[in-house]
Subunit: 214 residues, 2 copies
């Protein structure tokens, strides 16, 4: 039986819709009263795990799920050993540098040397400023990164932006984009190579469904 | 003005109660419609930041908050450079090793060598098994750690246990305790040493309030 790891949160609804379009129904995960973390499809051909978005590549890397859906941002941040199969075209957002609208900075290169940048994406942020040859200190945060500049702890943040509403509400503006992100289909490399449980068939169906809706 | 970093989640209610007992009212954070991440006390003498529990020591370490409340588990996991002032006696729980109730393991030493242990507390788990001289692989997860043994990805987990309800619901049992945890009062070392904003007075009040309710 094929197991698919699905991410809690923003991408879940589109994941469920995509899987429904190829005949696999995991819509029970969308029921707000649901407490189950794994469910079987009604046809008995597949199982889904509901996990935190950062944990999806872990389940796929260890082979506990043959397939998974996760944001490109997570793949860039964690560089997991998984096969990256397809861009699913939903969950579009970007990893951006933002500063206080009232600050004088309008691009990353204008930030003060040895300034501070708060981020949940420590690895991506470090690599970006390293490539710009700018020595900044990355302050690792788990949430509410916008508090960094508001409290004065950091000059900038590196965070995911989709509508930009959170930035605006907090008096911040986007000044540079590290990369664009969207949901990606990933696979356990060995299962993919061995085509366990005819994985290739399901992957082809998912690719076609993605092209049909794009 | 003194700034206090408060953790979202399980400890928040008791934090607010403790601060109210010394005359500081941040109860607006408990309003479910609240979206503010920083509020001023009505007396204008203090400010509170509402942040993720793992971020509390970051704000205190960087001096953006002179005081903070955080679980001992976070202090053990992250070893932040903060002054550890007092045990506040609430938020009691323990970091434990748990396995499937149906497994043969009844203590950590019985786990298979080179087995896998899933945890959000990667550092604590690694240190614990290292001290037992047991070579295990720690699988880092962000949430729903109980899925580790359920899916077969790991033989055991290291996770926080308070009532034990989550373990029971998932067919797991606790077999060893790494350490007991509770909420702790922490301070920015330099502010504490310099007694900025008469920090020592507030700390004494908080100590007394804790003793009074203990």
């Amino acid at each position: 039986m094929i197991t698919v790891a699905l991410p809690k949160g923003a991408l879940l609804k589109d994941c469920i819709k995509l899987l429904q379009s190829v005949g696999l129904d995991f819509s029970a995960f969308l029921d707000s009263s649901n407490r189950q973390l794994q469910i079987h499809d009604t046809t008995g051909t597949a199982k889904a795990l509901l996990v935190r978005t950062h944990d999806v590549p872990v389940y796929v890397e260890y082979g506990q799920a043959q397939l998974g859906v996760v944001g490109y941002d997570v793949l860039r941040e964690k560089s997991p050993k998984v096969a990256h199969l397809a861009d699913l075209k939903f969950g579009k957002c970007r990893l951006s540098v933002a500063v206080k609208a009232s600050s004088p900075y309008r691009q990353s290169l204008e930030l003060p040397a040895h300034g501070r940048v708060a981020s949940k994406f420590v690895h991506c942020a470090r690599e970006y400023f390293h490539n710009l040859d700018m020595p900044v200190e990355i302050v690792p945060l788990y949430g509410s990164v916008e508090l960094g500049p508001i409290t004065g702890m950091s000059e900038a943040i590196v965070d995911l932006v989709s509508t930009g509403r959170t930035l605006t509400e907090n008096g911040l503006i986007e000044i540079d984009v590290l990369f664009e992100s969207s949901a990606r289909l990933i696979a356990h490399p060995l299962s993919y190579r061995l085509n366990s449980d005819n994985l290739e068939h399901l992957i082809s169906q998912l690719r076609e469904a993605t092209l049909a809706t794009a």
